[in-house]
Symmetry: C2
Subunit: 369 residues, 2 copies
């Protein structure tokens, strides 16, 4: 499975795997794909350095990348405390009431929330970059908007390609104008922040809009047949995130959550603002239902919602409160039915891809080459 | 582009085209695909007979089919008047106010609404079937639920294959249990009534769920590359509806609507209950916005909403009231940018398919056969 982009990056399969777990990212790269570590959860640059050390060691010299969340527009002089102060009391009350109704225990005294999405703050993201450029990363992906011009320049100076996620062709064109190298066209089916255009329509639109820039197909891809479909749509590779969540190398810190993922069908996710204030696909739970209920207070805009719910999400995860327990994940969750090693998953993907190519050749009346 | 199903049906390309226009259906069949005439708008069996005469003559001996809307569960002894009586006055007032605000003229005295979706009523659909079985149709598709057992039997007695649309694997399994022959897996991207699972995820799920029944991929398909993707996902053919709306053979009776379709992008549709009471993808307009507005009265359940809005839709279409003028159409509308003949569209689809197959072979490292 070789495209111009995969050749340039020196990888065997044009499969890009996004994951918050260094061991998973490394295993993807070792299996011939390209592991991309999600950095949004690292508020402490030392923690990121520790995990990049681990990734670099485990990757065995294979290329890998980092995914940050960096807004193109700065909000000057706004601290986390300033943002916290903007959260209405009624919303705080709603969170407390919801947690109480489900009997969610408090965190032990002195234990801070482990789930904070302050990585979205430019200041935090820039500290992450200072760390990242110390490592031989080959790709820097930005999950929200185009990265600032100086970051693109800095990446290019380090020989690092820059990728950005897009949910529409217009969005992709703005990225191209910002000088990025790769567009990840992420369809409606995807986990996490996602737009309303399905992958089947979005991918070729983005390919046409930003040609000759390479495009990765994301959203709804979890089998070799789906990889073949993404590549048939003109992509130079695929970008998979959800599929790795139930691999043996992943560490969700919650057997209950893993069980929920393994049991969920493709109809068990929802595109909700409950987690971050922007629409993000995730497991549908009593938590998302409460926030999406027209009778409730509704969600706050990003970044307020993320700060508002950080402690609550940590408590729900720590105590594995079933009805509220969720995670960002795509519609492909229906295909995640067993815990397997990353290598087994990649083997399955490449075999399925070969099967799909053989089948499509038969349909096209081309004898097996 | 040949699959087991296309061979059995004796067609050159595994491209199924759904359309309300007999001339379009015939042109699709003549071009080597399989034209399917949508029957929902025919309240008068004589009109359907007239259009089937026309289709049969124009199809030049090539196979074609009919698409009806037939509920599996009967509502005994309920007439259209009974249903009309269930519509609240407040909703009628909302329609009148909305039309007045946009200056939509009344229909001339004595002119009945041409837009009535009473085809959903079993009584009407059964009269359509009495007509249809007089013609050499090769496929009977049901757009809403599984067809009743006696209809499946009657079709099979006539040597007619039965297809049904499904938006989820569960839905598809119910169809399979009802004895149908072909499942149309219709993704979120599709125009008209559609579910929430994107085609990329839905198609292979349905293929696995109903194997060995053949599956057609629907939703988001409007290019040869997208056909290749649908077939890579395991489908035995593709089902396209929106793409034909702007062909030269189509007769929308509204140059303004055609212009709107040609100008619309993939982000200009919405999945709304405004037209029928069930979520159906259509152009986003001031009409859908008004019904989807939480401050409004909201839509009524099917079939009340369809009856409530029938006259209004006819008036909006007749007088081409721009802000309100819409139609069911999928996200693929962004690709519909010129009026072309059906033959030119099919040529473009088959060329694009061949291109995609060549590209995927190159990626798979298989030399061009």
């Amino acid at each position: 499975m070789e495209t111009e982009l995969s050749r340039e990056l020196g990888i065997e399969h044009a499969i890009f795997g996004f994951t918050p777990f260094p061991a998973v990212a490394a295993a993807i790269s070792r299996a011939g794909g390209f592991g991309v570590l999600g950095a949004v959860r690292y508020t402490d640059p030392q923690e990121l350095a520790r995990d990049l050390d681990r990734l670099d060691k485990l990757a065995d010299g294979r290329p890998y990348g980092l995914d940050v969340v960096m807004p193109a527009r700065k909000v000057e002089g706004v601290s986390e405390a300033d943002v916290e102060a903007m959260i209405p009391d009624a919303h705080r009350g709603f969170v407390q009431e919801l947690l109480a109704r489900h009997g969610v225990p408090e965190l032990p005294e002195g234990e801070a929330s482990g789930w904070r999405i302050t990585g979205w703050m430019e200041e935090v993201a820039r500290r992450q970059l200072d760390v990242a450029f110390e490592y031989p990363i080959k790709l820097l992906a930005n999950a929200l908007g185009s990265p600032p011009a100086d970051v693109v320049e800095r990446a290019h100076d380090h020989g690092v390609r820059v990728a950005a996620l897009a949910g529409s062709a217009e969005h992709a064109c703005r990225h191209a104008a910002a000088g990025i190298d790769i567009v990840v066209a992420q369809g409606y089916e995807a986990g996490g922040h996602t737009g309303e255009i399905g992958s089947m329509v979005l991918v070729p639109e983005v390919v046409d809009a930003v040609a000759p820039l390479p495009v990765l197909a994301a959203g709804g891809i979890g089998s070799g047949e789906q990889i073949a479909a993404g590549l048939a749509l003109g992509a130079q590779g695929v970008w998979l995130g959800s599929l790795w969540l139930t691999t043996e190398e992943a560490d969700l810190h919650s057997p209950a959550l893993t069980r929920k993922l393994l049991a969920a069908g493709s109809g068990d996710t929802v595109r909700s603002r409950a987690l971050t204030g922007k629409p993000a696909r995730q497991l549908r739970t009593a938590w998302t239902d409460a926030w999406d209920d027209p009778a409730g207070p509704g969600t706050l805009p990003m970044p307020l919602q993320g700060l508002l719910v950080a402690d609550a999400v940590s408590r729900i995860q720590k105590y594995e409160v079933g009805a509220l327990l969720g995670t960002p994940v795509g519609q492909i969750v229906g295909r995640m039915t067993s815990e397997r090693s990353v290598q087994a998953v990649v083997d399955d993907l490449t075999r399925g891809f070969e099967r799909a190519v053989t089948r499509i050749n038969r349909i096209a009346g081309r004898s097996a080459p």
